[in-house]
Amino acid sequence: MADRILAQYEHEEALAAAIRRMRAKGYRALEAYLPFPAIEVEDALIGSAPSAPSRLPYLCFLFGMLAAGVAYALQWLLNGYLYPLVVGGRPPHFPLAFVPITFEMGVLFASFAAFIGVLWRGRLVRLTDDVQGTPGFESATRDRFWLEILAADPAFDPDRTRADLVETGALRIELPEVGP
């Protein structure tokens, strides 16, 4: 038995309308697949379970500040403490000169956090997943918009849900095979 049901729509507005209708019918475990980030779909999904605003920017900020702090501390340690050689009559600990590297390291690690954050939250770094291989699903990265309702949804019932989706004007409806 399939653990989810997938419905295909022609464009993002149809998908957004479908989401609203399905939510009105009590479906909660909704997810959409689409070839570009459509604002209508975003809006329609607000309130469904996985749709909280991304908190990755906070992670980036945290990593950036942490890296900047470490970068400054390292410069102090190496130039100001461990072997405080004197150059050009400057004091070994010379904060002004330590700014550029501090800044750069902050940016670098914030960027790492951002990139790795997306991969992590999007459960990426993989080759395939549960919906890949569903007939016609390759259009999700091309020109079609897909709605997913998980079997875990309390309102889910294979036949009724399919009927509900047909009502929303889905172009096709697929039940992906469960992986071996």
Binding site: Y81, Y83, V86, R126, L127, T128, Q132, P135
Partner: protein, 214 residues
């Protein structure tokens, strides 16, 4: 439709491959760092074979000969020096004068050809180490050379890396003031090997670069 592009198990392979890739890249950095710290790279503990089976244990411990008796220029010169053949023959014209072990020494002495010893402690060319000033400040020989009196074959015990030099140069007092320079006081020297945490790391004439690099 075509079958699935990737089978489900491919995810594991993919992630494993990526981890290996990153680990490989990291090891390119980490492995050399570890390597330079190995005794192999620093030439520590390598029992070189020498042209003469000279046993320091016998000369130092049994006979009680001071280090400076043979390595006399250590007091006056940057170089500690390996004794001239004549110094060996000073004693061995009297004792063991027939020993086959000393054949190389005798041959050198009478032919005028020097004995070709293998260098055990070698610093890079740009390091100017001066034995005499260390001796004058009471650094025991063992501090750097280990307890040669217990070595059948002399090996290098200290890594002779720059950070090893700096440990003492930062904490200068640690090695000074020993009563007798050539005491075979290995144990007390060991204590000194454990560097006290230097509270003041400011650059001094002992830690500025031209102290050793000129």
């Amino acid at each position: 439709m075509t079958p699935r592009l990737y089978p489900p198990w491919s995810n594991l392979v993919y992630r494993g491959a990526l981890v290996l890739l990153f680990a490989g890249a990291a090891s390119l950095v980490i492995v050399p760092m570890l390597y330079v710290r190995t005794p192999y790279n620093t030439s520590q503990f390598q029992p070189w074979s020498q042209p003469v089976e000279f046993d320091h244990r016998h000369h130092v411990r049994d006979d009680g000969i001071e280090c400076l008796y043979c390595h006399s220029s250590a007091e006056r010169s940057a170089s500690a020096g390996v004794p001239p053949t004549a110094v060996c023959m000073g004693c061995h014209s009297q004792v063991w004068q027939q020993s086959p072990l000393l054949e190389v020494v005798r041959r050198s002495y009478f032919s005028g050809q020097p004995i070709s010893w293998r260098r055990v402690h070698q610093l890079p060319g740009f390091v100017y180490f001066d034995h005499s000033v260390h001796i004058a400040h009471g650094f025991p020989c063992e501090r750097c050379h280990g307890d040669v009196g217990r070595m059948a074959r002399v090996t290098q015990v200290a890594p002779l890396t720059m950070n090893w030099c700096l440990d003492c140069h930062r904490d200068f007092q640690a090695g000074v003031g020993s009563e007798r320079v050539t005491d075979n006081a290995w144990t007390s020297s060991m204590r000194m090997l454990f560097k006290r945490v230097a509270s003041d790391r400011r650059v001094t004439l002992l830690t500025t670069c031209t102290t050793c690099h000129r």
